[in-house]
Symmetry: C2
Subunit: 192 residues, 2 copies
Amino acid sequence: MSRSTRSGTRGEILDAAARLFAATGFKGTSLQDIAGEVGCSKAALLYHFDGKDAILAELLAPAVEAFATLDARLAGLGDDDVQLAAVEGYVDLVMRFRREVTVLYDDIPALLQRPAFAGVQGMSDRLLDALAARSPAPAARVAALMVLSSVPVICMEPIEIGVRTEPIVIGDDELRSILTRSAARTLDLRGA
Amino acid sequence: MSRSTRSGTRGEILDAAARLFAATGFKGTSLQDIAGEVGCSKAALLYHFDGKDAILAELLAPAVEAFATLDARLAGLGDDDVQLAAVEGYVDLVMRFRREVTVLYDDIPALLQRPAFAGVQGMSDRLLDALAARSPAPAARVAALMVLSSVPVICMEPIEIGVRTEPIVIGDDELRSILTRSAARTLDLRGA
DNA sequence: TCAGAAGCTGACCGATCGGACAGTTCGGGG
DNA sequence: CCCCGAACTGTCCGATCGGTCAGCTTCTGA
């Protein structure tokens, strides 16, 4: 239990950084903070990584890659299939990379400029276009944006808009299906 | 047109700070940045305000007060009325204080700890309980959270999740009604 | 006319940031 | 036994942060 899921010092650093970035933000986390969490010196971090940005990049790499993969996979689907697959895939992906998403969204304005976000942007843009294509009106586009923006925020780790008095105590699968059904209802998809 | 809606140097400082906080975040904005935008020295800011935090507090004060007012007003309504009034009031309020909301949400983890956010938290909690009371299942709670989290993000100024290739070019009133109807559909309210 | 307050500036302060670097510890192969 | 490279530390650096302070204009009212 004391051992992390990642192995080695590099893994410990990535775990600690992920925890701190998600909790206090990228800007709000110093190398000293990470070093203190790991139990090593600040210089040790810079021995294993090229810098603070490199830690963030390696941290987000799997999530960014997964989003890009889903993006590519959705490109070859038909109109109606795209919508359901997109919603399910999006919800699933965000939930699988909760921590990374939390880090990504922690400092939205600055991170939108970050190169690592380009893949997620492309994915979101495509999803948005597919979902909004059902109707020419801006209403569909807004509904799609609602889903795109609310799902990640809800999946943020302890960071919820409007701190609830009691947290939602349900399993991942149930939350996943609830989110999918709610999103389908928002977008007026079939079965809603 | 060159004159701000606020009068005097204090108003210019608040306007510039609001713009910069919303664009680059509270942490990402230095007093030098604000001073540069206003066209005065950094010391001038600290002559008019007690510090950087004081600028933020005065900036958010009207929004915080408005949220607290809506919170109090919703406390005296019946079950069914609460829901529609809550949605409409919430959407309306967020849109009226777009810039303040953008600042508020720019650094979510840190700002949740901020005293100024307490009023908004209370408001959100009450709204959440009222909306989720329709059903004991966590589904209603999640749907309510979706609305609570997505509406502010969509209303963020140039900061959207998934940068759109083209911005939504509709008037405030239309966006307001679209958001309200989409939220009602998400929550399975009548008329959806 | 002039005293004094208001408004503002340039210079400076301590703290902290990300990062650089020389030196130290230490386990394993020749 | 020696030594080499990986892992790591303590220390220092320049930049930047929020904030302080003495002093300089500029306006105003007695």
